[in-house]
């Protein structure tokens, strides 16, 4: 049953994305300054929002784990962190493609790019740390503490990097102008299927994490005999 629901949601997300892409490519006009490439932002921006949401959920799940010691929260934390990292990667990569077309360079140490990269590396560290701990309960506690530290660092990273960049010349992103309302609406419209996809992937990953814990317990039981 659960699997069917997830599959259904997946199909729904795919259908929505397809519909959105049709609108993005066929209906919306080229942007005056940037031409066709601006369309990448309909994936770029919602991906960033999703990644940020993932960090928030990971924080809440980690805190809840430390309070309740219920490993379901740990599974939730690792699931959203991992899927959030994937969305973060989408954000970084689409951003780089956009930068290559508009600025002619793949990478620049712009404030937003740098902050995103630092945060991405932080949470990649979370996965690395989990990988190094064998015992599930110890792993959950260690990872939860790390997740809280990482989240506390995000605002400081964003703030300090913005400050750092204002002292150096930098290319301007989005020109600071107002966006056409149809484009603006499209950002949110396309966020919906991405969120749906995020939820499905996170649910699958959570299930996998729980199955893995069961296997680990069975293995321990076998050793104990």
């Amino acid at each position: 049953m659960r699997q069917k629901v997830l599959f259904g949601l997946c199909v729904l997300a795919a259908w929505l994305v397809a519909a959105d892409i049709a609108v993005i490519l066929l209906v919306l006009p080229d942007e005056a300054a940037q031409g066709a490439i601006y369309r990448i932002m309909f994936f770029h921006v919602p991906a960033a929002w999703t990644a940020l949401l993932a960090c928030l959920i990971a924080l809440a799940a980690s805190v809840m784990y430390l309070i309740t010691r219920n490993l379901r929260y740990d599974a939730l934390a690792v699931a959203v962190t991992e899927v959030g990292l994937a969305f973060g990667a989408v954000n970084l990569i689409t951003g780089m493609i956009w930068g290559r077309v508009i600025w002619g360079i793949w990478w620049t140490w712009d404030a937003r790019l740098t902050s995103m990269l630092v945060c991405w590396l932080l949470y990649a560290g979370y996965l690395m740390l989990r990988h190094a701990v064998e015992e599930p309960t110890q792993r959950a506690g260690t990872a939860a503490v790390f997740s809280i530290f990482a989240f506390a660092d995000i605002p400081i990273v964003v703030f300090s990097i913005r400050w750092w960049r204002t002292q150096h010349p930098q290319p301007v992103v989005w020109g600071g102008g107002a966006m056409d309302s149809s484009m603006y609406r499209m950002l949110f419209l396309n966020w919906a299927p991405l969120l749906l996809l995020f939820a499905v992937l996170a649910a699958l990953r959570m299930r996998q994490e729980q199955a893995q814990r069961e296997i680990d317990a069975l293995r321990r039981q076998a050793h104990a005999l």
Binding site: A132, V133, T142
Partner: protein, 226 residues
């Protein structure tokens, strides 16, 4: 009061143990000097450019040297299961953590104070112009590095690949603190007064220290008692 006394006992114990074996401090100091030497091949050591990147250069050295000291901090309790004896004693986890931080800061600051004159001589940089503000920045930056590093030393103490995990986890987390320390150090070595924008960086660095000290003191018990 009792809390501070316990922390002090732990700090004295760690410092005395380190002064006897000199394991971490020797490794850290020689590593720092080697990196300082290596940098001279990375760019022209005589150019004016050196002064412009002096803060970044120094803090990279300090961060690398610090990782060696911090790695040892909880690892030294592993032999003979000493960590269990400390956790089972009436010393609170927070006092244990604070004591270790104080010891690590002292060691790392000592390494830094040796590195600074060596850096000045090697790269022909006069760094003493704003000595006291510079010392304040060193202390604050080192405290931040130490608090985060000591916490992760506790977090990774039982892991395989401990030595590799610590720097990979700590450096990204340290970026805001390091960035502030780098900006301040460069400016102070260039002879700028501690005012205006620099004052903002100093506040950021202090804020970073406060936030992570509070978080670490609050969470260290869950890390040490499984």
């Amino acid at each position: 009061m009792n809390f501070l006394r316990q922390a002090w006992l732990i700090a004295c114990k760690d410092l005395r143990a380190e002064l006897r074996t000199k394991e971490a401090i020797n490794a850290s100091l020689s590593f720092a000097l080697v990196i300082l030497l290596l940098f001279s091949f990375a760019f022209d050591p005589n150019s004016e450019q050196t002064r412009e990147i002096s803060g970044g250069l120094l803090w990279i050295v300090f961060a690398f040297a610090g990782a060696l000291i911090l790695n040892r901090s909880f690892a030294r309790e592993l032999a003979n299961d000493c960590l269990d004896a400390l956790v089972a004693s009436p010393v609170s986890s927070a006092a244990l953590f604070l004591g270790k931080c104080v010891a690590n800061v002292t060691l790392l600051l000592a390494v830094e104070l040796v590195c600074l004159p060596v850096f000045g001589v090697f790269y022909n940089v006069r760094w003493t112009g704003r000595f006291w503000p510079l010392l304040l920045v060193l202390a604050l930056g080192t405290w931040g590095l130490t608090v985060v590093g000591t916490m992760f030393s506790a977090l990774t103490v039982n892991l395989r690949l401990r030595e590799l995990m610590l720097p990979t986890l700590v450096y990204p987390l340290m970026i805001p603190g390091l960035m502030a320390a780098i900006q301040l150090t460069t400016a102070l070595i260039a002879g700028q007064p501690l005012a205006g924008g620099l004052y903002g960086w100093l506040k950021l660095l202090a804020g970073f220290d406060i936030i992570f000290t509070a978080l670490a003191l609050g969470l260290v018990d869950t890390v040490l008692v499984g």
